[in-house]
């Protein structure tokens, strides 16, 4: 084979470990072994489909007031053919709100999880690789993040920065990177002494190259595990913040719906159709994240598996 022929055949196998492909393959392997993880994946798939299709499928605009034929506001209606899950006290369609709430939940969950993974992995890599005073400073920062009561701090920051979902995402990223950072650092500390990392240095690889080309691919599976757990946490936190009234009032999220229902005494009126669906959705989304995370964990650390 000549050099050019060899080069032509390159794309199949020259890429450094195709991390994303690996991640998908691993996810598939997890789903095949673990029925809970499969359920989690299906839940996310359904939520994603609903979120994407919400504008097309939702029967009403979630913020529009609906009227009865007689011209009155269709407030506090029980489920019917025209309003599958009834209406709110302002006559808004609950079913449409649940559908649009899915968008917020997924955006918040995934963007925050992505932020957590990126920030945590970066901090963990740098701290573990350089050790010394860099490590000390970064890990004391992690200690501070651990010491802060999470929800109150999140509420204070959102209140300070202004109620918007992007601020919520930012705050969660700033507070939740600590777990990922700690775990990745520990892993890097052990990888750093492996011969192949020393080999990279003997070959002349710079510190940045050693960290990102040689060490990072070996910790990414762990990052994905913590990312999948962070999705659930982020959705739950966003719901809590909105339920407590610090969310963006112009965005319909599941937490906002619960707050709305709570404030208008829906529970006293036994209007289950109003507050049960968003609560159920929050529970499903959070559970799905943990199911997938647990599946990953069993694949990555088979020894933790129950005997």
């Amino acid at each position: 084979m000549s050099g050019s022929e060899r080069a032509a055949a390159l794309p199949q196998w020259t890429r450094a470990a195709a991390t994303w492909r690996d991640a998908l393959l691993v996810t598939w392997a997890v789903a095949r072994r673990d029925r809970f993880a499969l359920a989690g994946l299906i839940i996310y798939a359904v939520l994603l489909a609903v979120a994407l299709a919400a504008p097309a499928l939702a029967p009403y605009n979630p913020l529009d007031l609906n009227y009865r034929p007689d011209g009155d506001v269709a407030a506090n209606e029980a489920p019917s053919l025209s309003h599958w899950l009834g209406t709110t006290n302002l006559g808004r369609d609950v079913f449409s709100q649940v559908m649009f709430g899915t968008r917020v939940a997924l955006v918040v969950g995934f963007v925050a999880a992505f932020g957590v993974v990126v920030l945590g992995t970066l901090v963990g890599l740098v701290a573990g690789y350089y050790s010394g005073w860099v490590d000390t400073i970064l890990m004391r920062l992690a200690d501070v993040a651990f010491g802060i009561p999470f929800l109150p701090m999140a509420i204070v920051l959102v209140a300070f920065l202004g109620p918007s979902i992007w601020n919520t995402v930012l705050v969660m990223t700033l507070l939740l990177w600590r777990d990922t950072g700690r775990v990745i650092r520990a892993q890097v500390l052990s990888l750093r002494t492996r011969s192949y990392v020393e080999a990279a240095r003997v070959l002349g690889a710079s510190h940045v190259r050693t960290m990102f080309v040689h060490i990072a691919p070996n910790v990414l599976p762990l990052s994905f595990l913590y990312g999948s757990l962070a999705v659930g946490w982020a959705i739950l936190t966003e719901a809590s913040i909105s339920f407590l009234g610090f969310g963006d009032p112009n965005v319909i999220s599941w937490g906002f719906m619960l707050q709305d229902a709570y404030n208008s005494q829906a529970m006293a009126r036994h209007a289950f159709y109003w507050f049960v669906p968003p609560g159920l959705c929050i529970m499903l989304a959070v559970m799905a994240g943990f199911f997938i995370g647990r599946g990953y964990e069993e694949l990555l650390f088979p020894r933790l598996r129950r005997r």
Binding site: M1, G3, S4, R6, A7, L10, Q12, W13, T14, R15, A16, A17, R194, S195, Y196, E198, A199, A200, R201, V202, L203, G204, A205, R209, V213, H214, P217, N218
Partner: protein, 334 residues
Amino acid sequence: MSQLLEVTDLRKEYPLQSGMLSAVMGARRVVHAVNGVSFALEEGGSLGLAGESGCGKTTTAKLILRLLRPSGGSIRFAGRDVAGLEGLDLLAYRRQVQFVFQNPYEALNPRFTILRSLLEPLIIHDIGRSLTERVERVAMALDRVHLTPVETFFPKYPHQLSGGQLQRVVIARALLVDPLLLVADEPVSMLDVSIRAGVLNLMRDLSRERKLTTIYISHDLALIRYMCSVAAVMYLGTICEIGPTAEVIEHPRHPYTQALVSAVPDPDPAQPRRPVEIADTVPTPFQLPVGCPFADRCPQVMEVCRRVRPALLPEAAGVHVACHLYPAGTREAH
């Protein structure tokens, strides 16, 4: 001939963190991993560093490779001090000095294919104008270490190869940058007996073909005899005897070398052996005696050995010994 590598009074100390007790006592204890090592290696030469575990031979190698910085002394490579190299100078040095690791199962990134691992040195040092040319170089390197047909090895991951094949890949990677000096730390100790010879022969042939300067680190004197023209025996961070390999092994002068040589088992049961007795104590590199580091275990210890540390001085037949049994006055008479 010119000296490629000159090591002078090399030292490496580690602070010992031994928990609560020493923290309470307030004493700062220090491990002397390498404690005044000196040798010179000419271009094309091969040096064997022999010694038991903990004698500082691997630390010496890591100092030469600039994986560690010395606490004292100097390493000069082609006339330049290695300790002060930074940036592009360090990169240039890294291209000239390469390493073969003890554990081939850990020396390659598990997430890289063999081709990707072997492209890495070419990318780092920007060798080869195009990807095509780089792949061609990798193919030639694999061919040189007899991993053929090379294409079948390109897409493999490390866990798919055997220990012997992995060590060949590691050697190929080291040779891709055309180094002047190759350091090998126990290159076959993790490999099965039947395939060791293949790796040793390969390294011997390659270093002869390319006039490569080599340093082999091993606890196995037989391996050093097979691979090296000069042998240095280390004990507790110092060289106690250095000289032409055959001379050091056949006529060991230092009592420690004598004990070491006599203790090596021989595969031929008919070979007679007269072992030298030395005490089995726990040698600790942190409370070094004032005198000779071997004094506690030496069967021929004298009063002077506990007071004065012997210097590494020339004896007969090109051998240097650090032992009071060979005082300067009697050297010629030997």
